[in-house]
């Protein structure tokens, strides 16, 4: 259609002016490599990909989008698991991967300021020399970006004790959808006015683009003790966790893997997990040495008292690293068990873990699919991995349905659709199971205060008829494209 083509050419020229040739991708094959994030079931090729190198270029791109009324979608490292960085086929995908400088380290005040493309692991690495670290540790931390963490309010295994991203973001510089720049928060606590910074964290890229983040750092704990306990069933392991919490102990992390997940992790990391174990429970304590040692002994005792069939204590940092490597690679290692998988991110009250897992396994059996379970047992955040073969359309559909049912089951148990991956494109249509129409309408009002034109990462988080009328799924050409009326640029 001529009009689209004309608008696009004018936009292309403006983007080219802002970014230079190396910063703008227009060729089909190149744009196509950005068609999905970590959730490969959702794909869409953006009209343009922008690779800004600094905040002013971000502003230029956002302004160009505003002038032409096109949607924009921000992207960090593209490892998100809810389709939050799924591009809009008529819009500009803004990848922040080239903005990856560490800007300032204030060790005495335990703060660091970074650009959004810096990876989570790089933050801790940058301050390791000061005996500091950045606590939220998503499993993809070697590659996921801080900007992405801010968008999703990412958690990780250690958020039981230390909280998630929102507890560690002191300030961010944000480019609003109209191209204006605002500072939300700052290096001191309690910024003046409404806590827009707190609202922004976890807003999944729908309120603006973060171009600078000031983070709170923690002092590296004096002692860390890690153990792996084997149990006959996840429910038994869950009981042990309950006992630990009831004893007033707050572990730094409590993770669980079921048998299928253990097998995948072992195939990859050879971390020494017992392939025959019904469930492996990883418990990590940290803190001042004396307290840590004492509580650790208690935890070992509680596990034994609650039916642990074997206990393995990580004796040195190398072994500890192996244990975590096994756990953190578990998702990606699923590739060894099946060609594809859907991962869910539901949360349930921790006390109902056994019940919920039983139901999931019944649902899986009914659907004829395998589900591996990895989860943050301390806070009830489940990661059921529905395994399937994407080559078979029927199986794919069954897997998608089961995956959605599991997420909604968590809500039925009094929990949440998402503990850390975000709602994104994947769970937007399930939001009405958790919130009323009024709740969602109010969220939309707040969103509109930032983005009145609805162009900033549209069709994410909140359900819309356009999004939820169609079934989510693999790449579907735009209806006009399918009709041969428009073609890919």
């Amino acid at each position: 259609m001529e009009k689209l083509a004309i608008v696009s050419e004018a936009l292309r020229l403006e983007l080219h002016d802002v970014l230079g040739p190396a910063g703008l991708l227009t060729e089909w094959a190149q744009r196509r490599t950005y068609e999905s994030d970590g959730l490969t079931g959702y794909r869409a090729v953006p009209a343009f990909v922008a690779l800004p190198e600094n905040r002013d270029q971000v502003v230029g791109v956002v302004r160009a989008c505003a002038r032409h009324g096109v949607p924009l979608v921000p992207r960090g490292s593209g490892t998100g698991l809810s389709g939050g960085a799924l591009p809009h086929p008529d819009g500009v995908l803004i990848a922040l991967s080239r903005m990856r400088r560490v800007l300032d380290i204030d060790a005495a005040n335990q703060r660091i300021t970074v650009e959004p493309g810096v990876t989570n692991a790089q933050v801790s690495k940058a301050v390791a020399g000061y005996d500091l670290y950045y606590a939220p540790d998503p499993s993809s931390q070697v590659v996921c970006s801080i900007g992405g963490n801010v968008a999703e309010n990412s958690g990780g295994a250690h958020c039981l004790k230390y909280g998630f991203t929102t507890h560690h973001v002191l300030g961010c510089e944000v480019v609003l959808p109209d191209g204006e720049v605002v500072e939300l928060g700052g290096p001191t606590l309690d910024p003046l006015g409404y806590d827009l910074r707190g609202l922004f964290v976890g807003s999944e890229g729908t309120l603006g683009i973060v171009t600078k983040v000031t983070l709170r750092l923690l002092r590296r704990p004096e002692a860390v003790r890690t153990m792996v306990a084997d149990f006959a069933t996840p429910a038994a392991a869950g009981d042990a966790v309950g006992a630990i919490i009831a004893a007033g102990i707050v572990p730094a992390a409590v993770e669980m893997m079921d048998n299928l997940a253990i097998q995948a992790a072992e195939d990859d990391a050879h971390a020494g997990f017992d392939r025959d174990s019904g469930a492996a429970l990883i418990v990590e304590l940290d803190g001042p040495a004396a307290e840590c040692e004492a509580s650790f002994a208690d935890v070992v005792g509680l596990c034994t008292d609650n039916g642990a069939t074997a206990i393995r204590i990580a004796d040195d940092p190398a072994e500890r690293a192996r244990v975590w490597k096994g756990r953190k690679a578990a998702f990606a290692a699923m590739g060894r068990l099946a060609p594809d998988y859907f991962v869910q991110d539901g949360v349930i009250p921790r006390t109902r873990l056994g019940e919920c897992l039983d139901q999931i396994s019944q649902m899986a059996a009914a659907a004829g699919l395998r589900v591996a379970n990895v989860f943050h047992a301390g806070d009830g955040n489940l990661h059921p991995l529905v395994l399937y073969d994407g080559a078979d359309a029927e199986v794919t559909e069954r897997a998608e349905t089961l995956s959605k049912q599991i997420a909604e089951l968590c809500v039925a148990f009094g929990g949440s659709l998402s503990g850390e991956h975000g709602i994104g494109a994947d769970k937007a249509c399930s939001m009405p199971t958790m919130f009323t129409a009024d709740d969602l309408a109010v969220m939309d009002r707040v969103r509109a205060a930032f983005d009145p034109e609805g162009r900033c990462n549209p069709d994410k988080v909140l359900p819309t008829p356009r999004l939820c009328g169609e079934r989510p799924g693999p790449y579907k050409p735009h209806p006009l494209e399918a009709a041969g009326i428009i073609e890919r640029m």
């Binding site: 991708l25 094959a29 590739g335």
Partner: protein, 421 residues
């Protein structure tokens, strides 16, 4: 490009931080995840194999750091090789590229031509042209690839040009192993000292070393460059030469060669005349540090007071998975301290002929690596690949040696423990 191998990738992105080109350019197409995606769309017929597509795949160093990083076990090494082969088959490069590559693939794989090239290199360095180029500023105005070629050329002594490793070196004392030695091309001509040291150290450790004179080239450059049939021809020759020799191990001291040799089983799997012998031979291939690390040290090593920075060559660390053995053998020398190299572990940029065909990217990576090595303040940098040595030497003004050269020096040092003392 095998669809099944491609489907192993779950798009998790763990490979991105390990990839040198992603570290340089921060764009998806120049990351392993993105390159696999490009292969997929080409296989689907959704993308043409055009200059852009080829450009991104050419930019891959083949360092295989991504293979080590991948939790799903994706065989990216096989994928990139088959993609390069596809490019060779289906894409017509611009004439300058073709000419340059033809020169490289003619001169490098093969000692005879390299010796001729070495003579020219000697003339160029010693008899004036190099200095002239530099003084007149012409050198700086050379096209990047020619400039790279010029700067990579190592210092050569005329006697190196004619040196050859002896065909048979007996073990010192009781024979523990019978070793076949792949003497290499660049290594033999330009770093003959390394080969001499290799043979001496192996012999001192009770190995009989057989070095067949007409063995030819192992084909690593061609294999990693996608020239499959040329690589297979070389592999067949090596198998013909080494297989009948009744060897306990086939030893190589260049990481790039070692990784190619260990791959012979897969390379010749479809050739019924060679498949089994190639597999058997490949199973015997070891890096010299692996063999030495396995053997209980017999030779006496004198004291060398040296701070050493060990640089992991990608083709040894990632492609072969060998990181412990070189460090183990270095620690056998009293007085040697290993200084940790504190960087992301990214490739130095040598990567076969990469530093010649992608000079700007290689230069950036090489400079970074040299800077990190310089920061260790080590007395000597030690690595197991001549390509790395040449590349790093361009920006680092410190001695660069192979581990066996240190072992050799220690074994011949007057301070070494003597029997009876």
């Amino acid at each position: 490009m095998d669809r099944e191998l491609i489907n192993d990738c779950v798009h998790c992105g763990f490979c991105l931080p390990a990839c040198p080109t992603y570290s340089l350019w921060g764009e998806e197409m120049d990351s392993p995840r993105g390159r696999i995606h490009l292969m997929k769309t080409a296989l689907d017929g959704d993308t043409a194999i055009d200059a852009t597509w080829v450009g991104h795949l050419d930019a891959c160093l083949g360092c295989m750091a991504c293979v080590s990083a991948c939790p799903s076990g994706v065989h990216y090494d096989e994928l990139i090789e088959s993609a390069r082969a596809t490019i060779e088959d289906e894409y017509r490069r611009p004439w300058r590229d073709r000419a340059f590559r033809r020169v490289l693939f003619t001169v490098f794989p093969g000692r005879r031509r390299l010796r001729v090239a070495a003579v020219f290199a000697w003339i160029h360095r010693r008899l004036g042209p190099a200095a002239l180029l530099r003084r007149t500023g012409v050198r700086d105005r050379l096209p990047p690839r020619l400039k790279a070629l010029e700067s990579v050329a190592p210092a050569v002594r005329l006697r190196d040009v004619v040196r050859r490793t002896p065909a048979l070196v007996p073990a010192v004392g009781a024979r523990r192993r019978r070793i076949g030695f792949v003497s290499g091309c660049v290594q033999e001509v330009f770093f003959g000292d390394v080969n001499a040291a290799t043979v001496r150290v192996l012999a001192a450790e009770g190995c009989e070393v057989v070095t067949p004179p007409a063995q030819g080239c192992c084909g690593a450059l061609e294999l990693h460059g996608g020239r499959e049939s040329a690589a297979m021809a070389r592999a067949r020759k090596i198998v013909d030469v080494f297989a009948p020799l009744g060897l306990d191990a086939v030893v190589v001291n260049a990481a790039g060669c070692g990784s190619a040799l260990k791959d012979y089983g897969r390379l010749l799997a479809d050739d019924p005349r060679y498949a089994e012998r190639a597999r058997d031979l490949a199973a015997k291939v070891r890096d010299v540090t692996e063999v030495l690390a396995e053997l209980e040290p017999r030779a006496a090593y004198g004291r060398l007071e040296l701070d050493v920075a060990y640089h992991d060559a990608c083709h040894l660390a990632h492609a072969q998975g060998v990181t412990g053995a070189p460090r183990t053998v270095l620690r056998r020398i009293p007085g040697v301290t290993l200084r940790p190299v504190l960087d992301d572990g990214l490739c130095c940029g040598s990567a076969g002929i990469y530093n010649l065909v992608q000079p700007e990217a290689a230069a950036e990576l090489g400079q970074r690596k040299a800077a990190t090595l310089a920061e260790t303040e080590a007395d000597v940098v030690v690595t197991t690949n001549p390509g790395c040595a040449l590349q790093i030497a361009r920006w680092l003004d410190r001695p660069i040696r192979h581990p066996v050269q240190l072992l050799d020096a220690a074994a011949r040092s007057p301070s070494r423990p003597r029997p009876g003392h």
